[in-house]
């Protein structure tokens, strides 16, 4: 953790902006704490028939020393929550592609620490809550009379214990759901709002979510306590030498649990607990996603690294890159003066450095997505082909997602995961300080595991040398040839590739190459083991690929691409009237072909099974699920971007030098037939 912090510190943006935004969000959550506590006190002591007494009790309680102390403890909890938000937040959600991968994430040591801390924090908050509620909940030990001797001893207060355990349970479920529902994924809103209106608009949602979540947790905890409540009870009473008061109704019985006031207090305190956490998350999200205006160009050379063209090219700080792209999209739509700066020429020399850098960066982002999609399609397609040629007995069908067999690592995910290998400058490696790679580690297919198919090894091993897409492809000529090349048969691909290193590829690297007898035998053994395992229900359940997960994972960071598309298209459209020196004209052909190639790749991706199925809409949850629909948003943004350019330029597009097939596609757009 310390190492990560030091890594993050390196970037000026983290140091100067993100840290301060996080601090501001934490400060606001601490400032809001007294208000929420007061509301909690009012609700917890609520009595309908004695309003005067209720109000006076509450006011006296709010100024009591115990409440002040509770507030201090709660401030500590909020601080730790805020630090965890800063440490764990991610702009690219991690999407586990099978249940096994999900299990791996939940059991990851980092996640275990997280759960442990949240359990402790939950207990702390619940302790504060029980002290505040007072009455029978206030302390762990209460004096009681033993029935036979009549002497006064300290007994275990089960109500207090009940609330504390509930806190631990809620803490764990918060931490668990945080992983499952991607609580730390920070998404950007489609519109810009000031922080206060946005906070006000989100507040009812947060209240609703915390109430619902608390009710769910209370129900689950009550059920859990009913069955296993005696375990912690006897353990605590034996370690602390507390007697169990036999005159009271035990809580792990039906009659003990059906206590309305107990359930009310449980759900109220649970709501308070969740609300504190959710509020911190909400404030953090609002602060981090606030738009940041980068200067387009600077007069001083020492500020050059803070300018938009430089920042866009930066890949190590994901949050900075996202905010820069957002800023680009905003300036292209709303700010005339900044657009003019983009189109301006450099003072000595007269080169359009700003425009060149910005367009190059946007196009490399988009072509990187194109490559990713093509590689995915190729993996899905070649998967079927390799299988049919090799002498395997695997029953896997070509449509990988519908297959019931095979391990976690369906081949179709490999392209995504191997992207960091291939393009070091891609967004994936630019994860914040290596933290992301630690997170994705559980999803990475283990090449040496017995579950991995030969195809995956082939892919992983050969990825780097054989891919013609290595690095960023600048030439539109190569891009244009792309689809043809990739839809060609596997033979032509493996012909063009140098042989992979034998160390990483024990199995026959190419299908048409005659495999040796030993390798054949090994492969058959492996397939047999696999098919044996595939018949076990649990294994199938755990390793079966979740539908549409690979599709979601491919588009996980597509918010960046959407902004790049918006920024590029609006800038190009604005250049029609604003670009005095014609700097955009030189890049227009490559931009157009880049967009059309991406469109073709996206169109083909949506023909894959499960790619166009809509995800189930979650009713109410703090976890953001916008990443599930990013691929649809990207497709819409892409079409809108092309339309924006074609409607602006109209017939002038005929004069632009692009290939015939792309011109044909653009003609469709000119006639509004897409």
């Amino acid at each position: 953790m310390i190492k990560m912090f030091s890594l993050k510190q390196n970037c000026w943006f983290i140091r100067k902006v993100v840290i301060w935004r996080a601090v501001a969000s934490i400060a606001w959550s601490v400032l809001l704490l007294p208000v929420t506590s007061a509301v909690f006190v009012l609700l917890s002591r609520f009595s309908l028939f004695h309003p005067i007494q209720w109000i006076s009790e509450c006011t006296s309680l709010l100024t009591a020393s115990s409440t002040i102390f509770s507030l201090v403890v709660l401030c500590g909890v909020v601080l730790i929550t805020g630090l965890f938000n800063l440490e764990f937040y991610t702009l690219v959600p991690s999407i586990p592609c099978s249940r096994m991968a999900l299990l791996g994430t939940v059991l990851h040591p980092r996640q275990c620490v997280h759960s442990l801390v949240y359990c402790t924090m939950g207990m702390l908050v619940m302790w504060c809550a029980s002290v505040t509620i007072g009455g029978r909940y206030s302390t762990l030990g209460i004096p009681c009379k033993q029935s036979e001797s009549g002497e006064v001893v300290t007994c275990l207060n089960e109500y207090h214990l009940f609330l504390l355990l509930a806190g631990a349970f809620m803490g764990y479920s918060h931490s668990f759901l945080g992983v499952v529902k991607n609580m730390y994924y920070v998404s950007f809103q489609p519109i810009q709002q000031y922080k206060y209106p946005r906070f006000k608009g989100c507040l009812p949602m947060v209240v609703k979510c915390s109430v619902i979540q608390s009710l769910y947790s209370a129900r689950n905890f009550a059920a859990l306590y009913f069955f296993f409540g005696y375990v912690p009870k006897t353990w605590i009473s034996s370690t602390l030498h507390l007697q169990i008061d036999s005159s009271l109704q035990p809580l792990d019985s039906l009659t003990g649990l059906l206590d309305f006031s107990l359930l009310y207090h449980l759900s109220i305190s649970g709501t308070f607990l969740y609300f504190t956490w959710y509020l911190t998350v909400l404030l953090f999200r609002i602060y981090v996603t606030e738009a940041y205006s980068f200067p387009v160009q600077s007069t001083f050379t020492e500020d050059a690294e803070q300018c938009l063209p430089k920042v866009l090219a930066e890949t190590n700080t994901l949050v900075m890159k996202f905010l820069a792209l957002q800023d680009l999209a905003l300036l292209s739509q709303h700010s005339l003066s900044r657009r003019l700066e983009v189109f301006s020429l450099s003072q000595p020399g007269g080169h359009p450095h700003n425009w060149n850098a910005i367009s190059r960066e946007c196009m490399s982002l988009l072509s990187e997505l194109t490559q990713r999609l093509l590689a995915h399609q190729d993996a899905v397609a070649s998967n079927g082909r390799v299988k049919s040629q090799s002498a395997s007995i695997d029953t896997r069908s070509a449509s990988s997602s519908s297959s019931v067999v095979s391990g976690t690592e369906d081949v179709s995910e490999t392209p995504r995961l191997s992207v960091p290998l291939r393009t070091p400058g891609s967004v994936f490696t630019s994860s914040v300080g290596g933290m992301h790679s630690a997170l994705t580690a559980p999803f990475t297919p283990d090449v040496d595991s017995p579950f991995s198919s030969p195809a995956i090894r082939r892919l992983v091993g050969q990825q780097e040398p054989r891919s013609p897409w290595f690095g960023t492809v600048q030439s539109p000529h190569i891009m244009r040839r792309g689809p043809k090349l990739w839809s060609a048969s596997t033979e032509s691909q493996s012909n063009g590739s140098p042989p992979a290193s034998p160390a990483t590829v024990p199995s026959p690297p190419a299908a048409n190459q005659k495999p040796s007898f030993l390798a054949q035998w090994l492969q058959n053994r492996r397939e047999q083991v696999k098919s044996f395992l595939a018949k076990r229900v649990l294994i199938v359940y755990l390793f079966n690929k979740l539908p549409e997960a690979s599709s979601q994972a491919l588009f996980a960071d597509s918010q960046a691409h959407i902004w790049a598309l918006q920024g590029l298209s609006h800038l190009v459209a604005a250049s029609f009237s604003e670009d005095q020196f014609g700097v955009v004209q030189t890049t227009l052909p490559s931009i157009l072909s880049c967009l059309v190639v991406l469109l073709e790749a996206v169109d083909r991706h949506f023909k894959l099974p499960h790619a166009s199925s809509k995800p189930v809409r979650t009713v109410c949850s703090m976890g953001d699920s916008t990443y599930k629909t990013l691929r649809f948003a990207l497709r819409a943004a892409l079409k809108t971007a092309i339309y924006k350019i074609t409607t602006t330029f109209g017939e002038h597009l005929n004069a632009v030098n692009i290939s015939t097939e792309h011109r044909k596609r653009l003609q469709q757009f000119l006639e509004f037939k897409e």
Binding site: L48, Q189, P190, I191, Q192, Q193, Y194, P197, K200, G201, Q333, H334, Q566, H570, K614, R617, T626, T629, L630, F632, A633, R635, A636, A637, K639, T640, Y643, K644, T647, F669, E671, F672, K673, E674
Partner: protein
């Protein structure tokens, strides 16, 4: 003793029960009182859902109109018409098949709008939800399946009476008279951001300025708001008398014309760029009228530098005068001007219900009018010299009949 205990217990129970009853009764009374209070503050909340749609629809006499809504495609020669039976038909200029759109949720269609910068998407405001149809322009099917439609709904946000796409096509805003917040939809992601302002009691009409920088939101009360769409803050504009009925923007987004309920004047608001509203006068622009009642609709064609048109329709029940559409020429520079130009009349007994300019008519302006007898007529205006206020020659109107195909004939409009 046991019996006595039982009796007291039951008495206590009865007591508590009556207590509960009292409490429940009080709560009910209170909620009733609150709703009636709310209703007296905002009378439109007492209307039923259908009445509300009829009240706030841009189509006059929506409930008995054969045509429920109409929308030109912003870029091509294609329009969509919602009919009385809740189906939507799409007509194109060439004789390609006319798709009919039907959906389970598509009831009481109040507004239609095509997505800008897109060939296929059509937003439909229905009673319970918002439908986004994706009608493939290349497909030949006449009955697209309901799988082509996206259903967008938000609890408490129905009936929807107005929708507006942003001119860049990226956002869709929807409004309901019962919901104080309007929804800003990211349609592809199916997520909405509510923008709430309590005053006014709902939002009835939305209109996005052609340059995308501002959005008008009218409320059922005598109040309307102008949102700026960069940071989504709004300015309150209390109206003089009634609520804002209809509005249109000048093509450059600098001027907003408004008509109020129960008033015979058109108000103009001028905005200057970058600084928001600086020239905050609202002055009556037009002075002479033939109509008894208030103005109902305004529309500007989206382009023509220098001159454009504002139209208004009056409804004249119990009046000998036939309802006519008045045509004005407008000029936005140096100051905003409205010059009367002429009138468009329908056939005997036909009243105009809805009108819209073709968004990009090459040779001048093309006004499309929906009449009360179910006809849709197109009235072209040809400019003899563009840029000047000179001669428009409405030559002929092509009546494309949608509801009864038997009387499919051309007829000529007279301009007084």
């Amino acid at each position: 003793y046991g019996l006595l205990d039982e009796i007291t217990n039951s008495a206590e129970e009865g007591m508590s029960l009556t207590h509960c009853n009292h409490a429940a009764f009080a709560v009910r009374r209170f909620s009733l009182w609150a709703s009636s209070f709310h209703g007296s503050l905002f009378p439109h909340l007492t209307l039923s859902s259908d009445e509300m749609v009829a009240e706030f629809s841009q189509m006059l006499d929506w409930s008995d109109s054969a045509l429920r809504s109409f929308a030109w495609h912003p870029h091509t020669d294609k329009f969509a018409v919602a009919l009385l039976d809740d189906s939507i038909k799409i007509y194109k200029s060439n004789s390609s098949p006319t798709p009919t759109l039907k959906h389970r949720c598509q009831r009481s269609v109040c507004a239609l709008q095509w997505k800008p910068l897109c060939g296929s998407a059509l937003a439909v405001a229905c009673q319970s939800c918002l439908l986004i149809w994706h009608v493939d322009p290349a497909s030949l099917s006449t009955r697209p399946s309901s799988g082509c439609a996206q259903v967008l709904s938000h609890p408490g946000h129905s009936p929807i009476t107005s929708i507006a796409w942003s001119p860049t096509g990226s956002l869709l805003v929807s409004a309901s008279p019962v919901d104080t917040s309007m929804m800003v939809w990211d349609v592809a992601a199916e997520s909405a951001v509510p923008l709430q302002r309590v005053g006014g009691g709902g939002v009835t009409y939305l209109s996005w300025s052609p340059d995308g920088s501002r959005l008008l939101a009218a409320t059922p009360s005598a109040l309307f708001r102008v949102w700026e769409t960069r940071m989504w803050t709004c300015e309150r504009w209390p109206c003089l008398k009634g609520s804002c009925q209809s509005a249109c923007w000048s093509p450059d987004g600098g001027c907003l014309l408004l008509s109020m309920q129960g008033e015979r004047v058109i108000y103009a608001l001028t905005f200057s760029d970058l600084t928001g509203i600086n020239n905050t006068y609202s002055s009556p622009v037009t002075a002479f009228f033939l109509m008894k009642n208030h103005l109902k609709q305004l529309f500007c064609p989206p382009f023509f530098s220098g001159s454009s048109f504002v139209l208004r329709a009056g409804d004249s029940q119990a009046d000998n005068h036939p309802s006519v559409i008045a045509v004005f020429k407008t000029r936005s520079s140096p100051v905003f001007e409205l010059l009367p130009c002429g009138f468009v009349m329908g056939e005997a007994g036909a009243e105009p219900r809805f009108m819209q300019f073709h968004p990009h008519f090459q040779h001048g302006a093309l006004l499309t009018v929906c009449w009360s007898d179910g006809r849709i007529s197109h009235v072209p205006f040809y400019f003899s010299s563009a840029g000047l206020l000179g001669g428009d020659s409405p030559q002929q109107a092509l009546a494309s009949n949608t509801t009864n195909p038997s009387s499919n004939k051309l007829y000529t409009e007279q301009i007084s």
